[in-house]
Symmetry: C2
Subunit: 433 residues, 2 copies
């Protein structure tokens, strides 16, 4: 069934079903709004990889890490089944449950919270990941709550302490993570809220992060956005169109047991000292970044997309791209050729007692192995990056991101939309087989 | 000069001026981006009233309250002059200063922080207000730091303690407030950041609030949005088109000395217990609100815009619009005919230790006198509103919002754009005359 047909059917039956299900009182609430019946503004939920990785980066983020509170493997599986079904619905502009926000029985809570009613699907993607603690617990002594210890992916290490880290445990870790991205913040928050609701009794939110401006493009069709330092960010990102780079740097290869076709998500909450930055000269700012502020060109010359010439020297023999500049230290040639797919967002979370904004970058990167593709680079950056003076890492998470769910495996209800049953597929099912 | 001509000139001269001002190094940074030169997506900054009140509500909010740290009246005036000039620039898509983010001297910090470069003006408005503490201090003993005590507007009272208030002083009050609204969050945050930067040495941020979804319309041309309870909000709002209601309920009348043509801003951070709400039945939710969830029609019948029939009874003689429903208690007929212009936003600020989202409504309302137009209603709501069970007021502010600045009074520089001088007009100048 095509996605268009699937959705057309879904909406039609929903509208008709509303009358039957509600029965009483429905006359008084006859003007029930139709949900968006068209797939415009949606990305497929199903596929070999999860959506929200190579999907052209949406404008807004709501990230939520969860602690699993149940100790039952079956209840964990049940949660993942519900989440998978709900995500398959929400990303297609459907309500979280088949009755929706206003058409269920009048004496029961609605099966969707309703604040996305009338909003477009806004390109919502929901991407799920498993933290190390899900497999072996978070303490020094391994704790195999769910019989998953033997399935711990090799790359799901404990990240080392990097120089300058000031991590808040309340903004770090988590057994499960959900990355909600959409072009409308309310659509992303609505999705996490409804997933959190479906987790009642099985998992609770550990931390969340709202991001209001993307700081990377993931498609060559997108303009490079600017971060809170006022510089273009993510110019040299791995783009969705570069399938060779994706295979080499982003997707876990087929030899890697159950995680094949998946990826790893590195999440770092990086506070930026913007008040200090704003007092630095334009010269200092450009030297720190290694690029011009206006165009985003490397200081070795050219335009934004010109490859930096790290060997180029100016008058007096000094490097045009300074030795401690961010662009040099993060460049693949300085890091054994590794690259990342970055998908970060800008955040502003109020202010501290001195009136300084608690603002910065929610760094999100997808890599095939954090041991080769993140730890060495971050070790070098933490040690030498001139930008480090203006940054503080205040939160951290690393998650194994399973491959996608196959379209045909979803269980559909009488109305043709996904429903959660004991036979529903779920994200990461391979780890439980 | 028309706004179009004004802006056209501004941009042209800016681009040319960049070369002269930067001089050295400018070749290497030749590809300086042009600022948006068109007034598309801008609202006039000048006018009889400040923008951001009857302006059709934008999608995003960034509100900042400031404490004045200087004790010098001249420095306070200097700050207000700078803010007024910067606001006149930013709202028209110009950078905070005449050199902009990338065209100033290379050895100095840029006069704009740069993260809005390339973004559209996004209908940015900046609205300024004065807290009671600016006039008489915040303690029990009046403190007239700036010789303004005699100018304290009669309506700028200390709000009483309302039943159920759980106010955090760190989210309340402030000598000055800036309401930044725009359709792009980054444009709103950029504006507050640059105003905060211009306040260095004179004022510091006390608290800020990011709002990502508007919860009211202020124009009949806008759709009614939904709040986090999933209900349409602001259906009965005072709309920009209703000039009679504005005169009666929003603008301070001409007899009221320096504040004439201004308004009062009531700001209340209202946390919503959404997890509890989500467990309430649809019947309970609709009874609490007094409207249907889908259409937003009063429970007395009709459609969204139908006036509630508060006297209507159903079978058994019970009121169709319950006695403790929000719509009844907030209705003008229950409140001596008063109405407010509401301009609130939804927020989500992480979560508490129990995993519940710290989410809700940043209630913003503009009224001609809070003593008649807010305090009685909130007293009644706090006492009797069935919705109170699901709400907690966690922050509070009340501000006098001066009238607007006259277009012709702005001082323009050689490039035709506003510049801050000792003769520049400023918002609220009448209070200092």
């Amino acid at each position: 069934m095509s996605r268009r047909a699937f959705l057309g059917l879904g909406s039609g039956v929903l509208a008709a079903g509303a009358v039957g299900a509600a029965g009483f009182e429905v006359g008084r609430r006859a003007a029930v709004e139709r949900l968006p019946g068209s797939p415009a503004g949606t990305h497929p939920f199903t596929g070999p990889h999860q959506a929200g990785i190579v999907t052209p980066a949406q404008d807004r983020l709501y990230l939520a890490a969860f602690d699993v509170t149940t100790t039952s493997r079956d209840e964990l599986v049940g949660l993942l089944r519900r989440w998978t079904t709900i995500a398959a619905r929400l990303t297609q502009g459907l309500p979280a449950g088949p009755l929706g926000p206003v058409s269920g029985p009048y004496e029961a809570p609605p099966d969707d919270t309703g604040e996305a009613l009338g909003l477009p699907p806004a390109r919502l993607t929901l991407t799920f990941g498993f933290g190390r603690s899900l497999f072996v617990g978070a303490g020094a002594v391994p704790r195999d709550r769910f019989g998953l210890a033997a399935r711990l992916p090799a790359g799901l290490v404990e990240l080392p302490h990097f120089a300058g880290d000031a991590l808040d445990p309340a903004r770090s870790g988590g057994d499960l993570v959900v990355q909600a991205c959409a072009d409308d913040q309310q659509v992303a928050v609505h999705a996490v809220r409804n997933l959190s609701r479906a987790a009642f009794g099985a998992a609770t939110i550990r931390w969340t992060q709202l991001g209001y401006g993307r700081t990377s493009s993931t498609s060559t069709a997108q303009q490079t956005p600017r971060n809170l330092f006022g510089f273009k960010d993510g110019t040299a990102n791995v783009m969705a169109e570069d399938t060779e780079a994706l295979a080499q740097h982003v997707w876990v290869p087929s030899g890697e047991a159950w995680l094949a076709g998946g990826s790893y998500l590195v999440a770092r909450r990086i506070r930026m000292s913007i008040e200090t930055w704003d007092r630095a000269s334009l010269r200092e700012q450009e030297a720190v970044v290694g690029r011009t502020k206006g165009e985003g060109a490397p200081l070795s010359g050219g335009s934004e997309r010109t490859e930096p010439d790290l060997a180029a020297t100016g008058s007096g023999g000094s490097r045009l791209v300074p030795a401690d500049s961010h662009v040099r230290l993060a460049h693949p040639s300085t890091n054994g050729g590794v690259r990342m797919l970055r998908r970060g967002y800008t955040f502003t979370d109020g202010n501290d007692a001195l009136g300084r904004l608690d603002a910065g970058l929610m760094f999100l990167a997808f890599v095939r192995d954090p041991r080769t593709h993140y730890v060495p680079m971050q070790t070098a950056l933490a040690r030498s990056d001139a930008m480090g003076e203006y940054l503080q890492h205040t939160g951290s998470g690393l998650y194994a991101v399973p491959a996608g769910v196959t379209a045909g495996s979803l269980v559909l209800g009488a109305d043709g939309t996904p429903v959660a049953t004991a036979a529903s597929p779920f994200v990461g099912q391979a780890a439980f087989d």
